[in-house]
């Protein structure tokens, strides 16, 4: 029996401890935001927070997650009450197919927990491990800059002027 804390709730699971967290989130806990993109830690679609750090849930065995806090996009806010990052992505309409966006939002959240005044380079660096194939990058960057402002800060050297 394994006990993990996800989005503030303790869940008890009878699963093989080698199972990567992604399949537990999606298959056992009904949390579908984190996505399967590669299973290899290359694309970031599966990114969630472990304590405050973004990790690839597709290569994180559940055995390593006990005694640490997991936060998924569902833990950032809901459709009725979106969190600041989700609201910023909605305001910028920062999605085309949207498949990569949960991973992007998690990386943005992790960055903004560290600082609400990240530089442009820090924003791009924080998002670097996550792939987007539709080319939504410009909007994702605008959304992160907007979220930084919503958290009382802002990107001091934005590559695009704030509209």
């Amino acid at each position: 029996m394994i006990e993990i804390e996800v989005n503030g709730a303790v869940r008890r699971l009878n699963v093989d401890p080698t199972t990567p967290l992604l399949y537990v989130l999606r298959g056992d806990l009904g949390l579908h935001a984190a996505k399967f993109g590669c299973g290899l830690g290359q694309c970031g679609a599966c990114t969630v927070l472990l304590d405050d750090e973004p990790i690839f849930s597709c290569i994180t065995p559940i055995a390593a997650v006990q005694a640490r806090k997991v936060t998924t996009v569902e833990g950032l806010g809901t459709i009725e009450h979106p969190g600041a990052v989700q609201q910023a992505f909605a305001d910028e309409q920062a999605a085309q197919c949207g498949y990569c966006i949960p991973g992007m939002m998690i990386r943005a959240e992790a960055l903004l927990r560290r600082t609400n005044r990240p530089t442009e380079a820090e924003v791009r660096g924080a998002l670097q491990p996550s792939l987007c194939r539709c080319g939504t990058h410009m909007r994702i960057l605008r959304a992160v800059r907007r979220a930084a402002r919503a958290r009382g800060g802002g990107v001091p050297d934005p590559a695009e002027p704030v509209k």
Binding site: K35, G37, P82, A95, Q96, C97, G125
Partner: protein, 740 residues
Amino acid sequence: MSVLSRRELLAAGGVVVFFSLVAHAAPQAGETRKGDQGANGPKPVAPGLPGSLSKFPMLDAWIRVAPDGKATIFTGKAELGQGIKTALLQLAADELDLPLSSTTLVTADTGRTVNEGVTAGSHSMQDSGTAIANAAANVRLLLVEAAAARWKLAVEQLGTENGTVRAPDGRTLSYGELANTLSLHVAARTGVARKNPSKRRLIGRDQPRVDIPAKLTGGIAYVHDLTLPGMLHARVIRGPSHGTRWTNLDVGLLARLPGVIKVVRRGRFIAIVGPREWPLIEALRVAGQTKWEPTHDPWPAGDLAAALKQAPAQNLPILQRQAPLAIPPAQIITARYTRPYLMHGSIGPSCAVALFDGENLKIWSHSQGVYPLRDAIAALVRLPPERVRCIHMEGSGCYGHNGADDVAADAALTAIETPGRPIRMLWTREQEHGWEPLGSAMLVELKAGLDPLGHIATWSHDVWSTPHNSRPAGPGDLIAGTELDPPLAPTPPKPIPQPEGGGDRNAIPLYQIPNATVVNHFIPGAFLRVSALRSLGAHMNIFAIESFMDELAAAARHDPVAFRQGHLADSRAKEVIRFAAEQFGWSSYRDRPGRAAGFAFARYKNLGAYCAVAMDVEVDADAGRTIVHRAVAAVDSGDAVNPNGIRNQIEGAIVQSLSWTGIEGVAFDPQHRTSFDWSSYPILRFADVPRSVEVHIVNRPGQPFLGTGEAGQAPSAAALANAIARATGERRREMPIART
């Protein structure tokens, strides 16, 4: 689907959708291979009606109004992430005078919607949007007529607003009340006026997409998220890439692996099924230790362009324009451009869910064409088509024909063998990279003659390409079909005729050139598996043409933008070029060593949206980096329904094309693909996307919709090449052109 009796119709209340059997007829096998990507489906029955109404003229095929006044809109197209769901609802809600929140959209479903063929070729707004807008105008008119009859007033005296019909004296009737008395099983009328553009509430305004909120908050948004009671997971077992197969797979061993409750086997088709995903993933890895062999003659892993030129081809002239020349050209310039195979590279590997109840098969798929897929799968599993239902549910962006159809077939075959249990079949990343049909490798040779004034007097364009369409027309076009015993044969590929074209899409220049020849060398015998990748041949042909235009402009000593303007008669083309150059600041920009601006223009298919792109690019040869500082685009998509949607698509196209053109190329050896994951097929990451991108829309309210999804990739490719040429003095003609 049976026709309801009149009693059933009235008993059900409201307005009911049903389809005549005629409208439901499946296209003949092979029909998906004729004509362009988006115009598949049945033949027109009412040619006077606009868009897909010509094929499905009955209003209730498109719109249904419930007793509570809410409207359900039906489209045969699919949401691919391009925002079509929202744009179609904007059209319907505006034309109906309903709030957007009172409308819902049902997308491609062989059980509920019309057959609008494949969602491709940027046809959705043109075909479905036009149909829905006009159907909505028709329905609104019927509601007004019903109210007029009740009140004994003239139709012209009445207005509509917010889901109600209003009389001059203030009386109102809600659509819900009126709908009870109305049958929408009538054909649309020609000439019903659309709403005056000056009165629009929704069309032409930025409208937040209706599908985004769920995608941002973990809602069930993709077929990958679909969970049904009793559902089992499945994985298919194939060789490492298309063109390979396992030899001597130990099926008994597989069946004994933990977590595998069943092995489905039909000929060489092998799938493993189990209640949890992780054990299946581990079982796949065990299976991966099996030896594999190629199933084809060696692929040309060396000089691909030479192999294309030497392959047996149909040589199809698509333009032969001749005019007498007063004097021979003063300069002749030739150039040769190449493109490698490109991947769709969908971020989410393809997925499908299938459920067979012993009689009927239901499949949820992100295929771009659920109707042709349904027919191909029905033939594959030997069920009558009416017992197979294929429902579109979003996947990650597909950008054309990716693994979606094949995985649906894999799911279907597996489901047939496990009746009563829904089967969720998911490809691995390596399978998606290895088996998805690719965008074809291509070669273009251009030759032009300039007259003494620097105008283009002669032009010839030869393009060599393997096919751009192998969408399933029959069961042998699905991978599973080739694994059955005996294997089913694929449909022989055919060129897509002009004016749409496949490898020759956009091969005919829009420029005014008195003597021009264009030949499409169609190579049916593909090496690597190929099919439609967003914009088809346009990416390559425009990369070549627009790079070449810069080379000609340089030879003629003209500014590249002025040179293009001087060869165009199309005023909308000239306007996007002017607008993009102005917004970019083209005339005041100064090139310097290592940093320069590049420009390019195209009208997609010479029929679709107009798009001009200017880019400010720096090349740091020592650090091995190419930096796009700024990209500015102008786009004319006709009547812009959702401007933010258009900007989103063009911004995305620019970045996607920078990746395709700058750094991508499928690696392979004579036996198999060696690009098997993101490490071996890198795509652009955040560090390398432009510093800034601006998109400016030239809106043409009232003009036909031109579609936007494929308009930006082609000019972006050439703008990059032109900027690099001016920054480095090096003309790079062989994609990828900006690899580190």
